[in-house]
């Protein structure tokens, strides 16, 4: 017999919102700090109940449903399946870490800061759990508000510009999605995300709808050439903001693409797939090359996100069970490794108040523990076999290869570039002689126990995912397989009459065979 809670999903979603209000009302910074940490930890623990009570099925679980606005058939509907499960857990895991980091280093106006972080958690979890298009959109857009204020108020030098750019880019990007949502509603009569996967929409509507949805998600992800807000936002955001932005917020784009854009508009997605895949491939190479040129570690990590999210998009566009499963896992992987990277950069920044690579050098001698952890995190980001990044990237490349081999070639090249820029950065930082006396062991203190404790869960997960990927694929695969099968059936049904399909899709069973190879 396992323990369960009623309205589990609503509880996970709105507990942080409730916490935000309490944090604002409680007097005293210390109380606020502990309270915020407690709320996020409790949310994390409760979210583990999803794993405990997990049913090995493809469909939605823990479903909650209430009418919200009956005249337009809008519902408050929440549910979780294999695709969203780990994204929710990623969010609830990264939040206490970010909050703890902020508690250590954020000095000004702590109350509003923590409240905004908690609001952000509600919005992000809501995005992954919503089963109604409008509800999804509400959470999707609502996440802008806390992030905007976090960047603008607690960010770096150029924070206001970065905050406004972030808001306007993403708001404008999703403007047309509202029209597309309405278009979908009036051609199918429902906002139900699950039902929409099985409804055929007229080709013309599909094309417009897909473009509008894909644009919103491409800006969010971000896909080249819609990525220009990202380096600004990442570099200017406070460390915890960067962790959440890279770790979770970007996944809202890829998740939306997978959950909405492809299943609702399967034919249009198949037709425009090569375009998106090309942009993703350009993003992989471009992001890596630009990252190679960066002098600021934080913006290096930011551009590496453009490249990594390119992989995820590539896996999604391949739209076979392997590629999509890999992409889902890679979303989690990227959240873990890039979150950890930003955390490491943040820890260093708080000590030295600079992020310029040229200011460092020889850190290995003064702060070995830090450098050791950084190396592991960097390896995870590069995709070293045995760590999590490899599993995701390799699976995606398999999927991409069966889709169009050229993209797998590009992706492989991207891996080499990733190793290049990451190791270069590590060499400049950690190896060689100490050139600046601010870096020697008298001035620079190594990580404290609690700081290691912050990074440790992430590092452990690198190994768990890297060594036992089936623990995760077991839960991801059924949902992905169901999604891919139903969408492919829709494409085939539509293309039989017109022209024979030029897209070769794999049968979903291959995904099960794949996971063996990565052990």
């Amino acid at each position: 017999m396992t323990f369960n809670l009623p309205y589990l999903l609503s509880l996970i979603t709105f507990l942080p919102l409730f916490g935000a209000i309490v944090v604002l009302l409680v007097p005293g910074d210390t109380a606020k700090k502990w309270l915020a940490l407690l709320v996020t930890l409790v949310t994390f623990v409760i979210s583990l109940l999803l794993l405990v009570n997990w049913q090995p099925i493809a469909g939605m679980q823990f479903v909650e449903e209430l009418p919200w606005f009956p005249p337009l058939d809008m519902r408050y509907a929440m549910g979780v399946d294999g695709i969203s499960l780990f994204l929710v857990l990623l969010t609830t895991l990264l939040m206490p870490i970010s909050i703890y980091f902020s508690n250590l280093y954020v000095r000004t106006r702590l109350g509003p800061y923590l409240a905004l972080m908690l609001l952000l958690e509600t919005a992000m979890i809501g995005v992954f759990l919503a089963l109604d298009l409008v509800l999804f959109f509400v959470f999707f857009e609502a996440s802008l508000i806390p992030m905007y204020f976090l960047i603008g108020e607690w960010g770096g030098q150029n924070r206001v510009y970065a905050a406004v750019k972030f808001f306007i880019y993403t708001f404008a990007g999703s403007a047309l999605m509202v029209v597309a949502i309405l278009l979908v509603y009036f051609s199918t009569g429902t906002f139900d995300i699950v039902a929409l996967q099985h409804v055929q929409i007229a080709p013309a509507v599909q094309m417009w709808g897909f473009v509008a949805f894909a644009l919103a998600f491409a800006v969010k992800t971000p896909l080249f050439p819609f990525h220009t807000w990202l380096p600004d936002a990442h570099v200017q955001a406070p460390t915890a903001g960067s962790i959440i932005l890279a770790g979770v917020l970007l996944k809202m784009g890829t998740y939306g693409y997978l959950r909405l854009a492809m299943p609702i508009f399967p034919q249009a997605a198949a037709q425009l797939g090569p375009v998106v895949a090309t942009l993703a491939a350009i993003g992989i190479i471009y992001g890596a090359l630009v990252a190679l040129m960066q002098k600021d570690i934080k913006s290096l990590v930011a551009y590496s996100s453009v490249a990594h999210l390119g992989y995820v998009m590539l896996g999604l566009v391949a739209f076979n069970a392997i590629g999509v499963s890999g992409a889902v896992l890679q979303m989690v992987n990227h959240g873990l490794s890039t979150g950890a990277l930003f955390l490491m950069v943040g820890l260093l920044y708080e000590r030295r108040h600079t992020r310029m690579l040229e200011d460092f050098g020889g850190l290995w001698k003064s702060v070995p523990l830090y450098c050791g952890l950084f190396l592991v995190v960097a390896m995870s980001s590069i995709g070293l076999p045995g760590l999590n990044g490899f599993v995701g990237e390799f699976t995606i490349m398999l999927g991409a290869f069966t889709y169009m081999p050229i993209f797998a070639v590009v992706a492989a090249a991207g891996v080499i570039l990733a190793a290049w820029y990451m190791l270069t950065a590590f060499r400049k930082m950690a190896q060689g002689e100490i050139t600046n006396e601010a870096n020697d062991s008298h001035h620079l203190k190594d990580l404290r126990f609690d700081e290691v404790l912050m990074v440790l869960p992430l590092v452990l997960l690198f190994f768990v995912i890297g060594l036992f990927p089936n623990l995760f694929f077991d839960k991801i695969n059924p949902s992905v397989a169901a999604l891919v099968t139903s969408s492919q059936a829709a494409i085939r049904a539509a293309s039989v009459s017109e022209h024979p399909t030029q897209f070769v899709f794999n049968t979903p069973q291959i995904a099960d065979g794949l996971t063996v190879t990565t052990k």
């Binding site: 509400v138 857009e141 603008g152 708001f171 509202v178 029209v179 009036f186």
Partner: protein, 489 residues
């Protein structure tokens, strides 16, 4: 005679009558002041507010029994009552804003509240009008009152200029409206919406008169709701009028005029939708785009909100273009949301004005969050709601109005409207930038005026701006779909 009165259903005019009675009560209370012994002045706003609450109660009572009476000239359907409630919210919030403000700018406190209630009564009649004559009468009733109210501050040249400008252009536009109504009568032989529709359906109408009539009527309404290119008066009048009046009229006028606008085109001219649909779509595009682009460049907060209100008129018009009942529901939701968020925003501006000043510069918001965190938070929520960011009510307002356009096949128009709201987000966001990320300078720091009633008003506006976003059914269950569709027939 007696029997006629007894059989006549007075439901459609009960709300307006109540408002008029309270206006008279306010005037009577004001007379007592001239003896010099007692002063009733502090009580007057509360009499007016009580009147608003009583009338609101009447509206809720009437919601259950939709009727059309006066030989089909006035209706107490959900549209009328919805507009009544919007106007009442605007009046109530306007009164709360005025309590401290008006005695500072004018001696005529009694007249002010009496006029406010009479103007509101005019707007409410317009909301229930099913006949061109009634539309025109109510239009003039509330317009005349508004001309006086906007010139209330006689010591301020800008206020007088605003009143003069409003009056001249208003009179001009009334002429357009009357001419249009006359031509429509000539074309169809009736002033009643239902009979105009019947005549058009039977192909008895003279199309040579009909099209000029429609054009003239659009001009007349376009002026009242400030559509581009008939919007020229809006920024000047909004800036010059006392701020509570601006807040009230920005919502009330739109509510009343859009009600008649929607009714006339949906109930009387539905067969001509292919013609006026395009005309209104073009006007909507112009209005949204120019309003937003002009708002980008404003430094005065009242002018900024004026241009933003022009843009919002464009959004509301989008719901009419397709000519569907869904559009009415969307517009009603839009108007009630707009009443809360826009009047709320004007109240914040009002609180930031210096003594004897009737406008506030945008710079005054700089660093507000550090000095007045609660006030800044309230303003930020109004701004985000006006920008249409979920989960605030402003998003659903846009969503519902645009849903009518998409349903009717006008997706491109909804797309332009959404892109416009992205432009709009920039200037609303700029206000939050100033408040939260700006540094105050010595000359821009203003101690906010303390006004208990205005604070209450702001909090009410805030609560509903948030609440309607989470629970849009709060409003829409009042204005039921089915009833509107019955009224359409």
């Amino acid at each position: 005679m007696n029997s006629v009165l007894l059989t006549l259903n007075l439901n459609p005019i009960y709300p307006a009558t109540a408002m008029v009675l309270f206006a008279i009560l306010v005037m009577l209370a004001d007379i007592l002041n001239y003896g010099g012994r007692t002063t009733t002045r502090p009580v007057i706003p509360w009499i007016a507010l009580f009147g608003v609450l009583v009338t609101g109660g009447i509206c809720f009572w009437l919601l259950g029994q939709p009727t059309v009476s006066f030989q089909g000239m006035a209706s107490a359907d959900p549209i009328a009552l919805g507009i009544d409630l919007v106007v009442l919210v605007a009046t109530g919030l306007g009164i709360l804003a005025s309590v401290k403000y008006i005695p500072a700018v004018s001696q005529q406190v009694g007249e002010y509240y009496a006029l406010l209630l009479l103007v509101a009564a005019g707007m409410m009649v317009m909301g229930s009008a099913m006949d061109l004559i009634v539309v025109f009468l109510s239009l003039e009733i509330f317009s005349l009152g508004l001309y006086i109210l906007s010139g209330l501050n006689r010591n301020d040249a800008r206020s007088s200029e605003a009143a003069m400008k409003y009056f001249l252009l208003g009179a001009f536009s009334s002429a357009f409206f009357v001419y249009g109504a006359a031509l429509l009568y000539g074309a169809t032989g009736s002033t009643q919406f239902a009979q105009i529709a019947a005549s058009l359906a039977n192909n008895q109408a003279d199309l040579n008169l009909l099209y000029p009539a429609m054009a003239l009527l659009i001009v007349g309404f376009g002026f009242k709701v400030s559509l581009v290119p008939f919007h020229m008066w809006t920024p000047d009048v909004y800036q010059g009028a006392p701020t509570p009046v601006t807040a009230f009229m920005s919502v009330g006028t739109k509510a009343a005029a859009f009600a008649a606008f929607y009714r006339l085109f949906l109930f009387a001219l539905p067969t001509q939708q292919p013609v006026w649909g395009w005309a209104l779509a073009i006007l909507a595009v112009l209005t949204m785009t120019l309003g937003n682009l002009a708002a980008l460049r404003q430094t005065s907060l009242k002018r900024l909100l004026a241009y933003s209100s022009i843009a919002h008129a464009g959004y509301i018009l989008v719901g009419l273009v397709a000519g569907s009942p869904l559009g009415i529901e969307g517009a009603l939701f839009y108007l009630i949301t707009y009443a809360f968020m826009n009047i709320g925003a004007f109240m914040v501006v009002m609180v930031l004005e210096k003594e004897g000043e009737m406008d506030a510069d945008g710079n005054r918001l700089r660093g507000l969050a550090k000095r007045q965190p609660v006030l800044a938070l309230i303003m930020a929520i109004f701004m985000l709601s006006l920008a249409g960011v979920p989960p605030f009510a402003g998003f659903f307002a846009k969503f519902f109005v645009f849903s009518a356009a998409v349903q009717g096949g006008w997706s491109w128009l909804a797309a332009i409207a959404m892109l416009n709201s992205a432009i709009g987000a920039y200037y609303y966001l700029r206000i939050t930038v100033a408040m939260y990320f700006g540094e105050p300078t010595a000359e821009t720091v203003v101690e906010p005026r303390r006004s208990g009633p205005a604070t209450v008003g702001m909090v009410i506006a805030l609560v509903f701006t948030v609440l309607l976003g989470f629970f849009p059914m709060l409003w829409s269950s009042l204005i039921q779909t089915g009833v509107i569709q019955v009224a359409l027939r």
